[in-house]
Amino acid sequence: MPEQFTELQLDALREVANTGSGHAAGDLSEMLGHSFEISVPRAVVTDLPQAVDMLGGSDNDVSAVAIRVGGDDVEAMLVAMFTPAQAANLCGLLGIDADSDMGRSVLQEVGNVLACAYANVLAEMSGLTWEVHPPDVLIDMLGSIVTSLAAATTRDIEHVLVIDSRLAVNDADAEMSVLFVPYDDGIDQLLQRLGVA
């Protein structure tokens, strides 16, 4: 991975997150019958310990759904992370217990909606085909999830690209953090396709 991205490149990646999360918010509002708002996305490069702290601290338990999207050369992971309380509140909007199999399906579906929204936006912006793979649902320590994500996508512990935004339900305490994590080996091509190589 390039150790430094230009401001222009970070802006382009922020724009992917902004549009992707924006579309996802619309789709999730429809699915859950509650409107969502999104925060301004962040795109920064930092070392891995710092990235873990930025995202909430290593030993905090989170519920997460992770989905791989992409094609042959350019791929990314999309991850939605909730605190257990927020996952419970989100499932509660549908009258479903978050700890049940149904609750798991709700998180899977939220992940699918997110991944599809990002895949569509990425396809439009890059001209590449983005396939959506099956989701993994995890309840684990934030540190385990984020560091494993980094280990799968980059080999560089010192320069980790963090692109995240927050999606929140307007009238309930249900918020998720959405991570867009491109794989290192396709990042140059992605930036090229976004016109900021």
């Binding site: 030993d59 684990d140 540190g143 385990s144 999830i145 280990a151 799968a152």
Partner: protein, 194 residues
């Protein structure tokens, strides 16, 4: 055998070993802890003679061939982390009177290497590669692995206590109680120290 967490005095300090870090302690008053091991591996090396102990939080098997790596912690990559951990534990155990006998008293306990996500097709799982790399590096360093808690699909927290009476390693997974993975037996200590 009483778990170390019960025998430790209230003054015990917990030192965090963050991802890529490596720490060594020779006293029972300092416990080493690493949180959030997913596909990463926690490698503990303990000298059965003195109870000196070290812990590394290994991220990947080997350093990338390109790009700067000078800033990465000494515990980041298995191939370099394990020899450095062994060196530091021997130094902590023997001080200036280093002897070659010490390495035969070293034992290793490893935890982690989980498969948190499905891997990309055609690529080996990071957790599995980490387990193999750490085991290989310990074998190369001549250190016996006496206990493991590796693989699976959940993250782990690992605690390492040092000291002649308290050396022990515990591991905890989300939703499970902390359990003892290894503890030094007093007869072993007596034999090794003799």
């Amino acid at each position: 055998m009483t778990p170390a967490s019960h025998t430790a005095s209230p003054e015990t300090v917990e030192t965090q070993v963050r991802i890529g870090d490596l720490r060594v302690t020779a006293t029972a008053s300092e416990r080493l802890i690493t949180v959030g091991l997913g596909s990463c591996i926690g490698v503990a090396v303990i000298d059965e003679g003195t109870g000196a102990a070290g812990l590394a939080h290994v991220f990947l098997p080997v350093a990338p061939s390109t790009g700067a790596k000078a800033g990465a912690g000494a515990g980041t990559y298995a191939e370099t982390a394990v020899p450095e951990l062994v060196r530091q534990v021997i130094a902590a155990a023997t001080g200036p009177r280093r002897t070659t006998r010490t390495s035969s008293r070293l034992v290793a306990i490893i935890a982690g290497g989980a498969r948190m996500f499905a891997s990309r097709p055609g690529t080996a799982d990071v957790g599995e590669r980490n387990i193999a790399a750490v085991e290989g590096a310990l074998r190369a360093a001549g250190v016996r692995i006496v206990a493991t808690d590796v693989g699976g699909s959940h993250g782990r927290t690992m605690r390492v206590s040092a000291g002649t009476d308290a050396a022990a390693v515990t591991v905890r997974q989300v939703g499970s109680p902390e359990r003892e993975l290894w503890a030094m037996r007093s007869e072993t200590r007596a034999a090794r120290a003799a």
